[in-house]
Symmetry: C2
Subunit: 346 residues, 2 copies
C-alpha cells in the first residue's frame, strides 16, 4: 500500500479576514522519492504573518508567491524527520528543516533553493536546541530580528529602540536583542497581558498597549525623548507614530506590516519627516541576510543557553489546526512564535 | 540719514496654493552693524521648493522653522556684497553667501550658524564662478544632488537611475551627475519642452512628461527593466511608481516632496514593497552633508568649467518678484535654478 498524508490547501482567497472556510484538509498520495530527493515526516510547521500576503490571487511583487488554490502550499518553513533518503548528506532519522510545510509528509529536492535559501533542506543540530526552535529563535524569526537590528537598524548601543508587535515571534526576540546590545527598549503590543510579559519577563524599559490609546500617545509617554531606531512589524498608524517620534538620523527597519495585510494599506502621511530628520527606512527580509545565519545562531544560541534570552511559543496541536493558528496569530491572540505540532501524523 | 531697505514679509499663511497676496514688500530701517556683524547688500536671492513648507503656522518638525507673519524671513540663501564689516575675515567688496534673503540689505552675525551651517556667512570665490551659481550648482542645490546620489543613492555605475522633477534646480544636476557616474538615466518633468531639454541638452537616456500619462506608465516605457535608484523630489504618485518599478536592493533618496506641499500628503500605499524587495529609503537634507561641500564644489566646478555639466537659471528681476518666482516654481513653470536678481537695491 502506498503512503498517503494530509495537506492543508487553500480553497478560496479571503477578502478581508481569513476564516477556516478558506482552507480544506485533503488526503493525498505521497509522491515516490526520486533521485536527489528525501521523504520527510513533518513534526512542526510554522505559522507566519507573511503567509497572509500569499492568500491572494496576486501576491505582492518580490519573491512572494501566491498560494495556488486546491494545491499544496509551498514555501512554509517546517521541521521533520527524514524517513527515506535518496540524496547525499541526508539519512533516515535526521532532523531537518525545509519549506514544504502544512502537510504530513513532504518529498523534498535536497538541492532545491527554497525561500531564498533559508528553506533549503538542511540537517539541524538537535543536541543544542529543541527542533521547533529552528522555526523561531534559531530560524527565520531570529534571523529577521537579528538582521533587522544589527544591519538595518545599525544598533550602536545607548539609543532608544522601539519594537512594535513586541510580543510576537520576531518582536519578542528583537526587544531582547536590543537590550543585550545596551539600548533603552520600548515595546508595544495588543493586550495588557502581553505588556506585563514584556515588562516583567523580557525586561523592556517601557511598554504600552496600542489598544489602550492611540499609539502615538502611548509612545510619547514611553519614549518622551523620542526614538532612534524603530523595528516595524505593524505599519500604518504605528509607522506614522514612529516617523513623528524619530530623532534625527534615526533608522526604521521594516520587516512587515501586519496591520495592512487584511485591508487596503494607507501609507504614512508624514513620510516627509524622513527628509526633515534625515531618516533611513529600510525594508528587509530575514532570508535576504542568510550570510548572518551562522553568526545569529551562535550568538542567540549562547544567549538562550545561559538564560539571557527567552523564547515563548503558542502551540496548536495537529495539522488541521494550522488555519486556526494563522487566524489567531493575525488577530494578535498568540504570543511568541506560533507553531503547529504535527502530533497526529500516521 | 540712516539706511533703509525693503524686505518681503509673509502677511497670511496660504491654505492651498500660494498667491502674491500672502506677501507684502515692506520698507524697514536697516539695523546698525554691531561687533562681529557684517552689513551685506544682497544681489541674488534664492527661491526653493522648501520655502513653501515654512509658509505655515507650524512647519514640519525637524529644523524647518515657520516664517513668522509680518517679519523678516530668515533662512533663505542669498548672495551679496559686503558694505561694512565689523567681523574678522570679511571686508567691504567681498562677495558672500548667507541665509538672510528676500530683502535688500542684511545685517549678518558672522559666526551665527544658519541652515545647519550651509547658510553661515562665507566669502565666495567669484574668480571661478558667477556669484549666483553659489545658490545653485555650487551651493545647496549641488550639494543636495551630489549627496543624494553619492551617499544616499550609493551610486555605483551601470545602474538605472530615475530622477523626478528633473528639469528643476536639483533634478537637472542630479541627472547629469548620475550620467557622469556611468549610469543609465531616466528623467521625468512636467512639460514636453522640459522633456526635450533633458533629452537634447542634458543627455538623459530616456525622459517623459508626467502630465502626458500616469507616471507609472511613462516610467514603465522609459525603464522597462526597472530602476535601481530613484531620486525623489516629488513624492506621492511618483514615489508609488518608483516603489513599483524598483529592482531588488534598490535605493530611494528623498530630497523633497513638492507635490505634497500644497495639499494633504497621502503616503505611498505600496510601501510594503520595500520589504518584498529589500529597499532602502532615505530622506536627507543637502545641508546635512556639509562635509561634502568642498568635494562637491571641486568636482562639479571642474565639470562646469570643461562643459561636462550644464546649468540653467530662471531669473526674476527685482526683490518684489520673489513671491511670483516662488509661485511659478511650485507650479512647475520654471526650469533649472529659480533666482531673484536684486537689480533695484538702492
Amino acid at each position: 500500500m502506498s503512503l498517503s498524508g494530509r495537506q492543508v490547501q487553500v480553497v478560496a482567497y479571503p477578502r478581508g479576514p481569513v476564516e477556516e472556510r478558506h482552507f480544506e484538509v485533503v488526503e493525498v498520495p505521497v509522491e515516490p522519492v526520486g533521485p536527489g530527493q528525501v521523504l520527510v515526516r513533518n513534526t512542526w510547521t510554522s505559522v507566519d504573518p507573511g503567509l497572509r500576503l500569499r492568500l491572494r490571487e496576486a501576491a505582492p511583487e518580490g519573491y512572494f508567491v501566491a498560494f495556488p488554490l486546491h494545491a499544496a502550499m509551498d514555501g512554509i518553513m517546517t521541521i521533520g524527520e527524514v524517513v527515506e533518503s535518496r540524496a547525499e548528506g541526508f539519512a533516515p532519522g535526521d532532523t531537518v528543516w525545509h519549506a514544504r510545510g502544512w502537510r504530513d509528509y513532504a518529498v523534498v529536492d535536497a538541492s532545491a533553493v527554497q525561500l531564498s535559501g533559508l528553506g533549503t533542506l538542511r540537517v539541524l543540530d538537535t543536541s543544542i536546541a529543541e527542533p521547533q526552535w529552528y522555526l523561531g529563535v534559531l530560524g527565520g524569526m531570529g534571523l529577521t530580528a537579528y538582521a533587522g537590528l544589527s544591519v538595518v537598524g545599525a544598533l550602536k548601543g545607548g539609543e532608544t529602540v522601539w519594537v512594535s508587535a513586541a510580543a510576537g515571534a520576531v518582536g519578542s526576540l528583537a526587544v531582547q536583542i536590543a537590550k543585550l546590545h545596551g539600548n533603552r527598549v520600548v515595546a508595544s503590543a495588543g493586550s495588557d497581558d502581553k505588556v506585563r510579559w514584556l515588562l516583567d519577563d523580557l525586561g523592556v524599559d517601557a511598554a504600552f498597549s496600542y489598544r489602550a490609546a492611540p499609539v502615538g500617545e502611548g509612545l510619547a509617554i514611553a519614549a518622551p525623548e523620542g526614538i532612534d531606531v524603530y523595528f516595524d512589524c505593524v505599519g500604518s498608524d504605528h509607522l506614522e507614530a514612529a516617523l513623528d517620534a524619530m530623532n534625527r538620523d534615526g533608522r526604521i527597519a521594516i520587516c512587515g506590516s501586519v496591520s495592512e495585510y487584511e485591508s487596503e494599506p494607507a501609507g504614512p502621511r508624514n513620510l516627509f519627516l524622513a527628509v526633515a530628520k534625515d531618516l533611513t527606512i529600510r525594508g528587509f527580509r530575514g532570508s535576504s541576510n542568510l550570510d548572518l545565519l551562522d553568526q545569529m545562531q551562535a550568538e542567540l544560541g549562547a544567549a538562550l543557553a545561559d538564560g539571557r534570552l527567552q523564547q515563548r511559543e503558542t502551540v496548536f496541536d495537529g495539522l488541521a489546526s494550522a488555519p486556526k493558528a494563522l487566524i489567531e496569530m493575525i488577530a494578535g491572540r498568540t504570543t511568541g512564535k506560533t507553531l503547529v505540532h504535527l502530533t497526529d501524523v500516521r
